[in-house]
Symmetry: C2
Subunit: 399 residues, 2 copies
């Protein structure tokens, strides 16, 4: 039987992850130093602690955690998450999901009809753009600067789209340690963005995998927290992931937001997955209950801090003057801007031949809205020596 | 912000699981004996074995299993599944998913445009009908008898739909220990159904959560195996779940089928979940590798056999003559047919008052295609005493 003729319309046209293909294309180059991936370092995984808790949970609570669980997520985990966050939050304002992408998929399915507009940042996280692709949405990007989304551009885009009769369903943002942009929103930008979105009834979904990976400086409130404490509008849904904290293989994230919206996301979960892994959920609950989470996060920050420092130092000492980069206080990525004459897609091919790899910036924009003189560097998956050598190789190429 | 105005079209009209609401409605009745759920007995969960393997996997393979995994599923698990099944199967003909519902969702998304026809059995598994609902499909049911789907009715329905210009995207069937029907397809019906579907190019998705839970009699080949060994057409995709074998909380299932089709299901997984839980996948792989699966399944069958026996015996000795039921050789459900004058939805209310519960048959048909004089009984979640008392209560009501 030939299935290719019977694929649904969206399946027929959808793209696979370009990053995956790029990373695969350099897989067999011996000695390649890669700053391409977005993987946390396996050295940060608390394998001993988690191994013990997994065994205890399955042995002692097996009748519960090996059974079907609630589609909204484990009650015990929700309670621990509320304690951890210190929020006044009703359980029906929270859903546990199979990672953050899964939460964004449910959020999108809940709100978006084919053709509706989703607004995002330029650049934005490719994995989310790929998930939004499946909604047959019209994804439009608005530039960011070092303080967040450029509000004047955002406001004029909203006006323009509405004048065209387009339905804007939501804005997708990554305000803390932006992937791939490496920036964080200023407090003023957070307030101004919220004010505008509330006044114009534009829901915001805030992707937050990194905010707790802060190596220096003072944390700012997430958009969700700002709204909860100052505006009380229910405009923001925040998605928090444990992928960069405990390990992405466990597939645990959660979304907080308006109860009507969360209720529908739970209905989607019932249809798509029934429930996330109940064992992994309970393990995260017990990890939190024992007070292990905050010390563990502090140890990850201690571990990553010298890698970021190293990459910033080598960039500073080696890169030509006409290359600029972000200087984040956490997260796992840096963003380089090259002279406009340099195309990072072409640089990628040359760099691979010179045994160093990155993701060209063009991969982080909706199709047709690409910017070509940028690139993303990850600093959490290489050794300090590899960072030194790899950045030198890249700098040589750019000279 | 009021989100109810901005829900997507499908979200606005989609139904939640009626079974869930029914079960919730009887939750606080003291002394209620429930044959309603579809839960495996927690006494069958191998908590000690699994607890040890979870710890070993996380401690020894944490760098791998706590990291991001492949969207097609764990390579090691796929290899173990092939050994276990004894198939000649290429890895690109298999995808691991977050339970069987998740596999059916990806399968549906890959093939179905809104308005396309999905054919299913009458009755069929409500959870799958709810998942298909999300595809905005035209779900049409065809009656089953004690040997499987009624072929004459299936053939005439196919002709009729095609004459109307409708697109039939696939047939969804549960040939072994049918939920809720409690029947299994005869070998002849399997062959005839396959022959017709191949000739008429109708893909089949075969839901197989129960075939290994056989307490007596000889197993028949699944449709997938029949096609693989006799017809070689690639018509069938089989979905196998570990929910009734290891525990549904682990959320591990897999689908086998045509490589083009599986490839697109993997693309959907990348957008929806990225990957299933990598820890749970590896645990299942190690459980299989150590040869623990088959003895464990044998012990589950030994455990359930007396419960089925008991329910059949009590039905035989207590039920009025005008009530008939299926006599399965495995699985977890029986299906009762009442005299046509009795409406099982009404009986459900009376039965709850008499402290016994079941699922009315009407819940297992697409909307508008209900049959009201049937009901489903589960025999794996009650004690032998509860089965005796509960069936007596039901029989009294029916007299």
């Amino acid at each position: 039987m030939d299935y290719t003729k019977s694929f649904s319309q969206v399946t027929g046209v959808m793209k696979s992850s370009l990053i995956r293909e790029l990373v695969a294309s350099t897989k067999n180059i011996p000695g390649l130093i890669s700053f391409a991936g977005g993987f946390p370092s396996p050295k940060t995984f608390p394998t001993q602690l988690l191994g013990d808790i997994f065994r205890e949970v399955v042995e002692n609570e097996g009748a519960d955690v090996l059974q079907y669980g609630a589609s909204e997520g484990d009650t015990l985990l929700k309670k621990q998450l509320q304690n951890w966050e210190g929020y006044e939050l009703s359980p029906d304002e929270m859903v546990i999901t199979v990672g953050a992408t899964n939460a964004l998929y449910y959020y999108g399915r809940t709100l978006v009809n084919p053709g509706d507009v989703i607004l995002c940042e330029a650049p934005s996280f490719l994995g989310s753009l790929v998930a939004f692709d499946a909604l047959q949405a019209d994804v439009q990007s608005v530039p960011i600067d070092c303080g967040g989304i450029v509000l004047s551009e955002f406001e004029s885009r909203v006006k323009q789209l509405r004048a065209q009769g387009k339905k804007i369903k939501f804005l997708y943002v990554i305000p803390d340690f932006h992937n791939p942009g490496g920036i964080s929103y200023s407090l003023e930008r957070r307030r101004d963005l919220l004010t505008f979105c509330i006044a114009n009834e534009i829901p915001i979904v805030e992707d937050n995998p990194y905010s707790r990976l802060r190596f220096s400086g003072e944390p700012l409130p997430t958009l969700y927290r700002l709204d909860s404490t100052e505006f009380h509008s229910g405009t923001v849904t925040e998605v928090v992931s444990f992928s960069k904290i405990l390990g992405p293989g466990m597939r645990i994230a959660y979304a907080k937001g308006n109860a009507d919206l969360i209720n529908k996301m739970v209905s989607w979960q019932q249809k798509v997955n029934i429930t996330p892994d109940c064992v992994a959920q309970r393990v995260v609950a017990r990890f939190l209950e024992r007070g292990l989470m905050d010390p563990h996060i502090a140890s990850i920050c201690d571990f990553y801090r010298p890698y970021l420092r190293k990459m910033l130092d080598v960039l500073e000492s080696r890169m030509p003057q006409n290359v600029v980069w972000t200087k984040p206080e956490g997260g796992i990525f840096l963003w380089l801007t090259l002279p406009e004459s340099i195309n990072a897609d072409e640089l990628f091919v040359q760099a691979s031949q010179n045994k160093v790899s990155f993701i060209p910036g063009s991969k982080f924009y909706p199709t047709g809205q690409e910017c070509f003189n940028t690139l993303r560097l990850n600093f959490t998956f290489s050794t300090l020596e590899q960072i030194e050598t790899g950045i030198q190789r890249l700098a040589e190429l750019l000279k």
